[in-house]
Symmetry: C2
Subunit: 392 residues, 2 copies
């Protein structure tokens, strides 16, 4: 019992930002720092954003509470979008607008996990997801999946999944295209995961934050479009990546109506509803996406290629997403991993530490290639090169 | 263990909106319905709201992730505001911007409550708070406080507080001015609660959503300004009420730095951060509040007076807030309470059902006097009168 001044066990070992550890060094760098640690984009949305007087006139209720599931207009547009781009949804009862993709995941986990329940997390994985599971009272098992140079075949994947199963396992998290590796699972791999979930009666949490952001070859289908998946899958989308509007903090959860309804019960008691002006603002962006989407994908592919051209470490090009993820153990040369990260920051470039993405990645770095304009990106990679080769 | 397709115990008996029960009837009314059930305001914010091209130019990062505690600029302004209007805060480390006041409460409860812990809730109380406690795994005891015609003196209050105490009590919720009653606690009552919390080593959750909205006499001081309070008090403020911008879903939590930090750990794993454009937008509103605040309070007082002039039930005028809350048992005349509520809606006016505000209020109604322009407000009250007197 957390008698004043103590806190709940739930948040006891739960950190805030994963960058807390070197926030001070980053602040000391000021504008000099090439910010490559977070999945942001310096590109402003280049689709129309209505606001101000004209917006006040056309949306007289912009200041009022929206429906807790989101505005009907935006949900209708998203319904159309998901049906066209991802998988079949019956209606807007299968959609809930959330305060970002993070929040859709949080509401979903609050609705699914009882204290002590386990989730299987293929790694490397987006760091906040570990904490989201913990906040809901759950625990997790890591399944190394995205870092291997060679792709796991379906038999290997099936065996690996089974080895993670315990009596308390209730769900599996699938983030493809993956943050941080930039890899996507193949359709066969997705189907293997679905069969496993069917066999073991698990929920699937499909985190498709990087929906649409594949630069080479064809994008794998959305998990929930595959046979057997929809009824047990909660899919999370966001406006933070392809839509380049992380600051708006809007995303959406899709899935079976009853599951969405239960996640909404959690959402209502977390934030009451997602914000109104942003939902009104994004209608136009969703409507016009076919026009601007190729332009954005080209720009991000170009950024990825520019990154690869100047990356001081020999790595495979990330096929999608915002990031490259790679091991620097050959560049440590006896130096401590955290000292190298501090040296990066003191040298004016900020990576994210691999250890936050899974216990196997204590010598890895994640770099975002969309967060800075090309010249700054190149500068950051030159600085990284100097730090890494400095140890040689 | 919530095996598919079951959900966590946590959300099992947790409803979404409290209006779900008569949502369909309300929808059937369309624009005819005089909406008095929710604490909204038809008045648009009349302070400057910058956006569009000019906003893009002046805030080049409006689309990016803000700091998880909120933007430094807004926190500095809020620091100044709280110091001037409410109580002394050391610095911005005592402030966290959240996705609405609801969210500040949710993050605070996630940080404070362990499963099974109890909170004392003076009633009638804002309905979502009961669910926020449940979502954090907690339970609660109701303390009837705001509905009595006669004010509880400090000895009575002290005894009432002690009678709610159990071994699992860890916190007390204080919402003054109160939603739904419009009453505020006196300084002596607040001090009694603080002494009780000190004696019993409890956290205090001060929900000051209606901060500044007192229409008669003097406003009581903020709870955290009183001796002994600050170190154990998390105070929640919002932009939804005085700032008339419920749709923006922004609020803030203030308190001891370590408690704010722990609540932020919860916030990060709920939504990552509050939205950026809204935070940028509200800087001007906070800066200029001295200019527009008297205008808004006058307008709301005027609405309250208009409400009192046309209210068909003889009640005491609410001293603050957005609502009137009163018993209609003398008007039931053998009719079922819920049938009367349905009759209201079918007659074109929507109340909130008192039972959601505490177990003692099964024959009460809450009406919002700020959600509709004056003529519509009058129309709604005439309609209410017809339904109530219809049973006579």
């Amino acid at each position: 019992m957390p008698r004043f001044p103590h806190f709940s066990n739930r948040v006891q070992d739960l950190g805030g930002s994963i960058f807390e550890r070197y926030e001070k060094s980053m602040r000391a760098q000021g504008d000099n720092l090439v910010r490559m640690h977070i999945g942001d984009t310096y590109r402003q949305p280049d689709y129309p954003l209505a606001f101000e007087e004209q917006f006040r006139q056309s949306h007289p209720n912009f200041n009022c509470y929206p429906n807790t599931f989101g505005t009907t207009a935006l949900r209708r547009l998203l319904h159309e979008k998901v049906n066209e781009d991802n998988f079949e949804l019956k209606g807007i009862e299968n959609i809930m607008v959330s305060s970002g993709g993070t929040h859709a995941l949080s509401a979903a986990m609050m609705a699914i996990l009882n204290p002590g329940d386990e989730v299987i997390i293929p790694t490397p994985a987006w760091p906040l997801y570990f904490g989201i599971v913990k906040l809901a009272g759950g625990t997790y098992r890591e399944l190394p999946l995205f870092a291997d140079e060679s792709e796991m075949n379906t038999a290997e994947l099936s065996a690996a999944l089974e080895s993670c199963l315990t009596e308390r396992t209730v769900a599996i998290y699938v983030n493809s295209p993956n943050n941080p590796s930039g890899r996507q699972l193949t359709e066969a791999q997705l189907q293997t995961i679905i069969h496993f979930a069917e066999r073991r009666n698990l929920w699937i949490i499909a985190d498709e934050a990087y929906d649409g952001l594949v630069y080479d070859g064809e994008a794998s289908p959305s998990l929930a479009s595959l046979p057997g998946a929809f009824e047990r899958t909660l899919t999370v989308f966001t406006f933070s990546k392809l839509f380049m509007f992380a600051g708006i903090r809007l995303g959406y959860l899709t899935g079976p109506a009853e599951a969405v309804r239960k996640a909404n019960a959690a959402l209502v008691h977390q934030i009451y509803s997602a914000q109104m002006p942003g939902q009104l603002l994004l209608e136009e962006a969703v409507k016009t996406r076919r026009e601007w989407k190729p332009r954005v994908i080209d720009a991000f592919r170009h950024a990825r290629d520019h990154f690869m051209l100047h990356c001081p470490v020999d790595i495979a090009a990330p096929a999608g997403g915002y990031f490259a993820f790679f091991d620097i153990k050959d560049y440590l040369n006896g130096r401590d991993y955290w000292d190298v990260i501090e040296a990066c920051i003191d040298g004016g470039v900020s990576p994210a530490a691999g250890i936050n993405f899974g216990s196997d990645f204590g010598t890895w770095l994640r770099l975002c290639f969309t967060g800075e304009p090309h010249e700054r990106l190149q500068l950051g990679l030159e600085r990284l090169g100097r730090v890494l080769l400095n140890g040689a």
